[in-house]
Every structure is written in C-alpha cells, then in structure tokens.
C-alpha cells in the first residue's frame, strides 16, 4: 500500500476513531480555514484538531441560502451549509469550533454558529490584516485567550514542554510538505499536484502522527520515481481557496495538457514554508511564525508580500504560466487580480489567466475549459 492509499484508508475510518477518542474523554476541536489556528495548541492539550476545508459542491450552497445571502464567497457559504445541514459529520463531531476571524467572509460563518446553531460551542479570535508589532501583540493576545479556553475546555494545562513537543511534531509536518513541494523544482515532475493537494486536504482531518508518517513515506516514494516528461507547460496555480472537493480547475489544466507545479492558496492548503521557533516562549514563537513569518493572504493590507512571493515562485518553479483562480465575491482577490497581471508581466514576462468560480460546474465547465485550453496553447508556443 503506498502512502496515499494509507492516508485514504486512515481517513475511511477516521470518523469512527474520533468517536472512540471522544468516548475516552478526548475533545475534538474543529477550526476554520486560513491557516491562523496553531494546531500545536490543540495537540498540546491532548485534543484532536479537525480543519474545515470541504467545498466545491454547488448543492451545499442551496442549504446555506437559508442563512446568508449569496454575496459571500462560496467557500464560506459552503462552510455554513455543512455546519447547518449536518451533511458532513466532521462538522457535527466537533466539541468546540474555533474561528480565527480573518475577513468578513469568516465573520459570516462565526455569526452563523452562534445565531443558528447555538448548541455548537464556538470560540473566535481575531487575525489582524497588517504585519507590525501592534498586530503581533493583538494576535498573540488572541492565541493566549484561545490557550485559556482550550485549557478550561479540556481540563488539561498546556505546559511549555508539551507545547514544544507539539511544535516539533507540526514542524516536522511542515518540513515534509516543504521537501515534497521542492521536489517539483526539478525537471519533470515526481509529485503530481493532485497528490500534493490530496496530502494537504487529508492533513486537516488525519491524526498528526499518522500524517507525518504518511508524508515521510510519500517523500521516499517520490524520490524514487522517474520524472515525467518535462515538455508540458508548467503552471503556477494561485488564489484564495482550494477546497477539498473543488477539483475542476486542476482537472481541466491536466486535461488541457498543462502541469501544475506549485499551488499558493490561503485556504485549503496549510502554510508550510516556515517552521515555528523552539525558543523559550513557545506562545510568542507561535504568534511570530503564524502571523509574521508566513506569507500573508490576499486580504492583508498591503498584499504586496504575497504578490512578490508569487513572482519568486514563478522563478523558483520555472513556471511558464500563472492561473489565478478566485471565488466569486472574494473582493480582496478580485481587486488584486486587476493590477497584478501588469506586475507579473513586468517582472517575469508571463501573462496571467484569471478564472472565477461559484462552484457551479454545469455553468462554468465549458467556458473554463475553453479559456484554459487557449491559455495552455498560448504558453506552450
């Protein structure tokens, strides 16, 4: 059984094992996307973190329509749909749902939990939109409140040693993601994007120790693989969100003869480029790594750090094209998609293709295919 098969088998029984863990007194902590909840804090109090990144199904948006208007990003409406409809058991198995408030789309979800599902216990803390000392202080304070909440909720005190151990485990996961990702810098490709994304999505649900083991196996397997042909257009895929179940763009790029060699998304993939320091104050180290050292999402102000990072990735991964995949009504990304192409062209010579989705496959598939086909043809020549 290869690494991905092992991950699949683990996830197949995951709900059952979570139920069992709950019966034994452990708490399941659900949290929303964006990469601002340090799972280390959850692990350090012997609870189980579950990240919510499922999306891509237009039907769930109909469920969400009873609770919120359509002008919110479909990923966050999907979260509302899954929470309220109970169609995904991971959303109802959590003992506590933590919502790091990143932008107004995340607020839609946090409002919904309290107003429409008051039986679900929740906790919110804020993520500033700028990177400076004031913001770091505010974020650290939010993490401390979260730590207190988790300690009260689980009845387990989070000690320095326990937290450092959890940081080491999560650092190992990040390092492995990073090492796997970097294999794609070479000629050919030994890590299909589809695999890499599946590993990310699985990591939000899997047991952390199991996940690290799976990633280690995957890395070994990938290193042994023969690189695929390198004469296909190499694409950098970026955007706000790549939900678990939102495969349309990836499928189309591959169908049209392209190869995604790097993905950059704020939601749906976990930040993996930086490790958390193991200095004296682990809380401060977490805040520094999660807010200041990671590349910021598009809703940060200004968003130039991320745009510069994309330019860097184009060079590092020798991308011959950049596809910007944004969800409808996510205004930060929409506005950036207007002025970034000029910067990209100037700095890399590449043109950019902008795609938008409301998770409406029937309506979007045909036009998306035509646009991707044309784009791939353009960069092939």
């Amino acid at each position: 059984m290869d690494a991905l098969q092992r991950l699949g088998a683990h996830l197949e029984t995951r709900l059952g094992s979570l139920e069992e863990a709950k019966r034994q007194g452990r708490k399941v902590i659900g949290y929303t996307a964006g990469g601002y909840l340090p799972e280390e804090l959850v692990l350090a109090c012997d609870a189980i973190p579950i990240g919510y990144v499922r999306a891509g199904d237009n039907n769930i948006l109909r469920d969400a329509g009873s609770y919120i208007c359509r002008w919110i990003d479909p990923f966050w409406r999907s979260q509302i749909g899954y929470l309220t409809s109970r169609k995904d058991l991971y959303y109802s198995i959590a003992d506590l749902i933590v919502v790091p408030i990143t932008d107004n789309h995340a607020r839609a979800f946090s409002n919904t939990i309290v107003f429409y599902t008051p039986e679900v216990e929740s906790f919110v803390f804020g993520v500033p939109h700028v990177k400076d000392e004031l913001a770091l202080g505010y974020y650290l304070d939010g993490l401390k409140r979260l730590k207190n909440k988790l300690e009260r909720f689980t009845g387990i005190r989070i000690g320095k040693q326990g937290l450092k151990k959890a940081i080491e485990l999560c650092n190992r996961e990040r390092e492995l993601f990073s090492q796997i990702s970097m294999l794609r810098k070479a000629n050919g490709n030994v890590v299909p994007s589809r695999d890499f994304i599946a590993l990310h999505h699985g990591s939000f649900l899997a047991d952390k120790e199991v996940m690290v083991d799976v990633l280690e196996s995957y890395l070994k397997e990938a290193k042994k693989r023969e690189p695929s042909a390198d004469n296909v257009p190499r694409v950098l895929l970026t955007g706000s969100t790549l939900g678990d179940g939102d495969t349309k763009v990836l499928d189309l790029i591959e169908d049209c003869g392209g190869m995604v060699v790097m993905e950059e998304f704020a939601e749906g993939l976990r930040p993996y480029w930086t490790s958390v320091g193991l200095e004296d104050d682990p809380m401060a180290a977490l805040a520094k790594a999660y807010l200041m050292e990671r590349v910021c999402p598009g809703w940060f102000r200004p968003g130039t750090e991320r745009l510069d990072f994309l330019v860097e990735l184009v060079g590092d991964y020798r991308a011959s094209g950049l596809i910007w995949y944004q969800l409808m009504y996510r205004e930060s990304y929409k506005v950036e998609s207007y002025f970034f192409p000029q910067i990209l062209k100037q700095k890399t010579g590449l043109n950019m293709l902008v795609l938008e989705s409301e998770y409406d496959t029937a309506a979007e598939l045909g036009t998306m295919r035509t646009r991707i086909e044309t784009y791939i043809e353009t960069i092939r020549t």
């Binding site: 107004n104 309290v114 004031l134 202080g137 102000r301 950036e336 910067i343």
Partner: protein, 467 residues
C-alpha cells in the same frame, strides 16, 4: 446671470455667495464637464426629488455643493488632499482637518454621489469609469469605490496625497486603496482593526480591541504627519469635537420632531444631513450644521401646524438610511404610504448610551472606544441591535431592514437581521436587498413591488389593531 445661477439658488446659495464664489464655481463645473445644456434637467431633477419649500433642505444641498467645490479645487488651491473611506471612523480625519487649513480631508465618493448624483444626475459615467478601471460590475464590488476611482480617473476629483484606509470594517476599502497605490503610488495609512467580537457580545468588547484600534489610529496620525508635512495639533481632538457637538445636539432636536404624526420631513432630506457628517470634515459639515438650524425651525412650524410628508396615522417604519445618489429609491417607501421617523443615525443618537470604558491618554484610544461603543465597527449584532433599540426610541410598526448587497459587512445581516428583529420586537421586518449608492440595478422600480406589498400588510395590520 450665468447658466448655473438658478440651480445654485435652488440649492440655497444666496446671490452674494454666488458672486463671491463665481470663479471657483465655474472652474469646478468645467472640471466636472457640466455644461449649460445640463441645467434644465438638473433643475428639474432637484425639484422632482427634494422638498425645496424648506430652506433648510436647499441649504443642505448647497452645503454638499460647497464641499464639492472645495474638493475639486483643493489641489489648485495648494491644499494637500486626504481621502478616507465611507463609512469611516471620522476622528483621525477630523483631527487632521483641525490641525491645518492646508489639508482637505474628505470622502470624495460620497461627495460625488450627493452632487453628481442627487443634483446633476450624472453619476453613471463616473461609475462606469470605476468599473472599467479595476472594479468591474457583476462581482458585488462597492459602488462607492467605483465612484471614487471613476472620479479620480476622469480627473474630476484630485489624486489624493494620502489615503486613510479603513481596514477596520470592510476588506474592500483598503484593498481598493492598494489598487490606487499600485496604479498611482498614493501612500496609504492603514487603520487596522479586527471585528472579532462574538455575535451577542455587544455592547461588551475586549479592552484589547480598544488598544489595538487606538494604537493603529495613533500610528496612522503619525504617518499622516510625515506624509503631509504637518503636525497634529495637541488640541486637535477637542477642536474637532466642537462641530460634532453642534451636530449631535441638532440631531437630538430632530429626533424629537420626528416623533410627530405625521412625520414632518422625508428621509430623503434626512439622508442629506446624516451623510454629510460622515463625509465632510470641512466647510460642508459646517454649512450643514447651519442648514440644520434653519431646518429645525421650519420643522417645528410644520409640527405645530400638523403638516407632514405622509398621511397622519401612516404606519411608521425604521429604515437604516436613504439612497446617496438617487432619491427616488428612498422616496418609494413614503410613496407607498409608510412614514420613516427613524434612521440608523437617529436611532444611534436616541438609543442607549454606552459611555467610554475609561479615560485614555491618547486620542486614538479615545476614538476607538467611542467607535466600538457606538456599534457598526463592533460587529454584526451591534448593527442589528441599533434597529432593535430604535423600536423603543420611536413608536414603530415595522422595519425596512435594507442591506447592501455589495458591502460585505452589511450583507452579513441579510438573514439574521430580519429573524432577530422579528423575534425580539414582534414587529414585521422587510429584508430588502439594495445598493444604496448606485440605482442602476437596484432601482426604485425593481424594489417597488416588495415595498408596496409590505406597506399594504402594515396598513391592514394597523387598521386591525385600531379596530
């Protein structure tokens, strides 16, 4: 007499004022592309939409025109220009304005809406210019920002020297400021805040929110000093409060007058004065307060005479605010036979007071605490609770809970607002999706059926309760 004199008189300008201001008026109109042929339709548009029998209303329109002139000519007259995004935490802008006569601080989008929209009826080309330059239609992007970008692109309003970015409420505003920076290199002072209170927490909030937002305001003021080459006066906050106090006192008087049946003034005119205080930090608001003084005297006469804008006994509803550029959208509520005695601003003034948590040593924290206690910047439930308290302030029969489709923080109330208000007040609520700044899609015609049906239901309900 020039081609525009008649219109300016309709808008409350005295002949002497026109004479004194003539060169500035002509330069402004030329820059806006307003020509003699535009006058008949502008006059008719103003007459059709505003109650010009009230001198106070005319003067309010005039106050907006004065703000427009000052804005359009600011750079020509050697001023540094600072833009803030609406709705704004106004404190920093007021302080900059109070610190130097050489700085103009304004919300150009609101000024364009109220003048190029409400007076000249020529907003559409400006919106289209915004759509063509980074903020396309069909994506629920803010139409205020479309007007701002459009106004800049068309050279109607000057390129700012600094943007005070509202990073504490909407995500769109500061990102659109990034757009202006990317295209034109305009420096930005971000005032960041995080709306991370849990639903239901209002009026409580963490002291950390005050500290963070307050420190961000102080930081933005410091950056403003550097960019503009001015010093924020030590007494800038106190000075800026002098005008605000006059305005608040007038609002309290107005609130009292609005208890009358029939309601003495249309929400179309209330909108003119409410929006002015959130958009201008200079001559516009100063003139606006003078206009309010006149208006209040006129309304006192109306109330004494039992005159109003709707029939006596008409169902009374609260509506958050009127339309900024097309008064027909606002009027349709009164046309359907509903009286609107209460808006969000009046409810805020008349509702429960939440005093500052403590005395702060910096203006930033003082402003931040005031804003968090006031509501909208606090969170979604705070916005909705302002409606709830409105029911107690005024004897209401229902609510028109209009939410803006293209403003994310406002659209978060789409469902919860109706359910919460019906549950807590027992009154009927019409949740009405609108665009308060652009009537091309959400026109009066498109909303009429919903409002008329709601009005019919309220009338029948009121009749039944009388019987």
């Amino acid at each position: 007499m020039a081609y525009y004199d008649e219109l300016f008189k309709l808008c409350g300008f005295e002949e002497k004022e026109i004479e004194e201001e003539r060169p500035r008026i002509e330069k402004t109109l030329a820059r806006l592309g307003i020509v003699p042929d535009d006058m008949p339709s502008a006059q008719s548009w103003v007459k059709q939409n505003h109650d010009l029998s009230l001198v106070g209303v005319r003067k309010l329109l005039g106050a907006w025109l004065k703000e427009l002139i000052d804005l359009v000519l600011a750079k020509d007259e050697g001023k540094k220009v600072v833009y803030f995004g609406f709705p704004a935490i106004l404190g920093p802008g007021l302080m900059l304005s109070a610190s130097s006569d050489d700085v103009l601080v304004s919300a150009p989008d609101m000024v364009l809406d109220h003048t190029m929209g409400q007076i000249f009826n020529k907003l559409t080309p400006i919106l289209e210019a915004g759509e063509a330059n980074g903020l396309p239609p069909g994506h629920a992007l803010c139409s205020l920002w479309q007007a701002k970008i459009g106004g800049i692109i068309k050279g109607m309003v000057p390129m700012p020297d600094l943007a005070l970015a509202s990073s504490y409420f909407c995500d769109m505003g500061s990102k659109a400021d990034d757009l202006v920076t990317a295209l034109y290199g305009v420096p930005v002072a971000y005032i960041d805040g995080v709306m991370d209170s849990r639903w239901g927490e209002y009026p409580r909030y963490l002291p950390q929110r005050v500290s963070y937002l307050g420190a961000q305001i102080n930081q933005a003021l410091k950056k403003s000093e550097e960019v503009l080459g001015i010093e924020v006066a030590p007494d800038a906050w106190e000075k800026s409060q002098i005008d605000s106090r006059g305005y608040i006192n007038n609002l309290l008087k107005l609130l009292d007058l609005m208890r009358a049946d029939p309601v003495p003034i249309s929400v179309v005119e209330l909108e003119l004065l409410e929006a002015l205080s959130g958009s201008s930090t200079g001559r516009g608001i100063r003139e606006g307060i003078k206009a309010m003084n006149i208006l209040i005297s006129e309304l006192e006469e109306r109330v004494k005479a039992g005159k109003g804008v709707t029939e006596k006994g008409a169902p009374r509803v609260m509506m958050a605010s009127g339309h900024t550029s097309d008064p027909r959208v606002t009027s349709l509520v009164e046309d359907a036979g509903l009286a609107v005695p209460l808006t969000m601003v009046l409810a805020q003034v008349g509702g429960p007071k939440h005093p500052p948590k403590k005395t702060y040593s910096t203006p930033g924290e003082t402003i931040a605490d005031h804003e968090l206690a006031s509501g909208p910047v606090h969170g979604t439930d705070a916005m909705i609770k302002m409606f709830q308290s409105g029911a107690k302030v005024m004897k209401l029969d229902g609510f028109i809970a209009n939410y803006l489709f293209n403003c994310r923080p406002a659209s978060l109330t789409s469902h919860t607002q109706k359910e919460y208000l019906e549950r807590t007040t027992g009154l009927p609520v019409l949740a009405l999706e609108t665009d308060n700044f652009d009537s091309r899609t959400y026109s009066a015609e498109s909303l009429r059926t919903k409002v008329e049906t709601f009005a019919y239901m309220l009338k029948k309900r009121k009749e039944a309760s009388r019987n």
